[in-house]
Symmetry: C2
Subunit: 201 residues, 2 copies
C-alpha cells in the first residue's frame, strides 16, 4: 500500500465507481475520470501515479487493472465485515443500503440495546445484544463499525467499540466523538452536508 | 458573500460547530479551530481571511462574530426549508435527525409515492403526495431537497425536483445522478465512506 494524501484517498472511491462501470477490457482516460469527479486531469494523473500505477500515453488506464489497484489500496480486495450499532430507522436503512455489498462490504452484525429489538431481523441479519459486542468482535464477527445511535449515546458506544478492538468507525450520529490514536474515524453529518449545500444554492 | 474554494466551504460547518460551542463572549484561536478540524492553523487563517474576517493577533477570533459571518456566507443566517423525498426508513431517520433544526434548517415537507404512507406523520410533518411537489415548491413550501429514495428512482425524482424549480439537492440514494448547471448537488454515499475508512484501518 502507498502513502496517499487524504484528498487522494477521498477521490479513489469515485474513480473506482467509474472504472467498475466501464466494460470489460476497456481503457479509461484521465480526462473521463476527471470530468466525472470534478477535478482536473492532472489531478487524476497525480493520484494514479501516487499509487505507482501506469497508464498508456494517448490510450488511458486499463479499467480492470486500475480498479484492482484501487481496491487493493483501499483494502477492499478482500471483503470487509461491518457491524451496525443501532437498529432504529437509520440503522435499519443503512443495513439495507443497496450497493454496500456490491462495494466490498458485508453487514455481518447489527446491534441494539432495546430488548424488544434484539432477536428481530433487519435485512436478513439478526439484531444482537450490544452487551455481546466485545466477544463478537474478538471472535472476528466484524471489524468496521457504523454508529447509528442517538447523539447522547455516541461517545459511550464508540468507547465500547474501541475497547472491543474495533479500529474503524463511521459515525452517523449527530455528535462529535473522540477516539484514541490508531483508530480511524469518519463522520457523516446531515447538517454539515446541508450547510455546505446551502452555500451553493 | 465571498467566492470561496470548495475545500474552504467544506470546512466552514466544522468551524461553525466549534464556535457555537464556545461560551458567549469568548475568543477562539486558529490553533483550536485547526486542531479540532484536522487542518493547519495557517489553513484556518487563510479560510477566515478569504471571508474578509479579521481576528486579533495573539487573541483570536470573536466566536460570536465569526460564527455570524460563517452563517451569512453559508446562507443560513435565515432559516432554510428542506423537503425530504422518500418516507422509508432513511427518510424517516433524516426527518427526525436531531441537530438539523438547531443548524438552521426546518424540514417543512416529506414526500412519498406510497398511498399507504401519504397522510401519515414523520417527526410532526405530514407525508405528502409526490404528485404535488411542483405546486408545493412554487408555493415556497421548501427550497432544498433531500433524496431518500431507492437508487432506481433517484434520477427521475431529481428531474421532477429540478423541473419544480429546486436548486439544491442532497442525494442519499446510492446512485450517481445528473443535474443541469445552476443546480447544486451533493451526494452522501455510505459505500464511499466505508471505502475511504477502509484505507485507514
Amino acid at each position: 500500500m502507498s502513502e496517499l494524501s487524504p484528498a487522494t484517498v477521498a477521490r479513489l472511491p469515485r474513480y473506482l465507481r467509474l472504472l467498475e462501470e466501464a466494460e470489460n477490457g476497456r481503457t479509461v482516460s484521465s480526462d473521463v475520470l476527471a470530468e466525472a469527479t470534478g477535478v482536473t486531469a492532472a489531478n487524476v494523473r497525480r493520484d494514479v501515479a501516487a499509487m505507482g500505477f501506469q497508464g498508456t500515453r494517448g490510450v488511458g488506464y486499463s479499467a480492470v487493472d486500475l480498479a484492482d489497484r484501487i481496491r487493493r489500496e483501499l483494502g477492499i480486495d478482500k471483503r470487509r465485515k461491518v457491524g451496525i450499532v443501532g437498529a432504529g430507522n437509520l440503522g435499519t436503512a443503512l443495513a439495507g443500503y443497496s450497493g454496500v455489498a456490491r462495494r466490498g462490504f458485508d453487514v455481518t452484525a447489527v446491534y441494539d440495546v432495546d430488548p424488544k429489538r434484539i432477536g428481530q431481523k433487519v435485512g436478513g441479519t439478526e439484531i444482537r445484544d450490544m452487551a455481546g459486542v466485545a466477544g463478537d468482535s474478538a471472535d472476528g464477527l466484524f471489524d468496521m463499525a457504523v454508529l447509528a445511535v442517538p447523539a447522547p449515546s455516541a461517545q459511550t458506544v464508540a468507547n465500547q467499540l474501541v475497547s472491543a478492538g474495533i479500529k474503524s468507525i463511521l459515525n452517523f450520529a449527530p455528535a462529535r466523538i473522540e477516539v484514541p490514536e490508531g483508530v480511524a474515524l469518519r463522520q457523516v453529518d446531515l447538517s454539515y452536508e446541508l450547510q455546505i449545500l446551502s452555500y451553493y444554492g
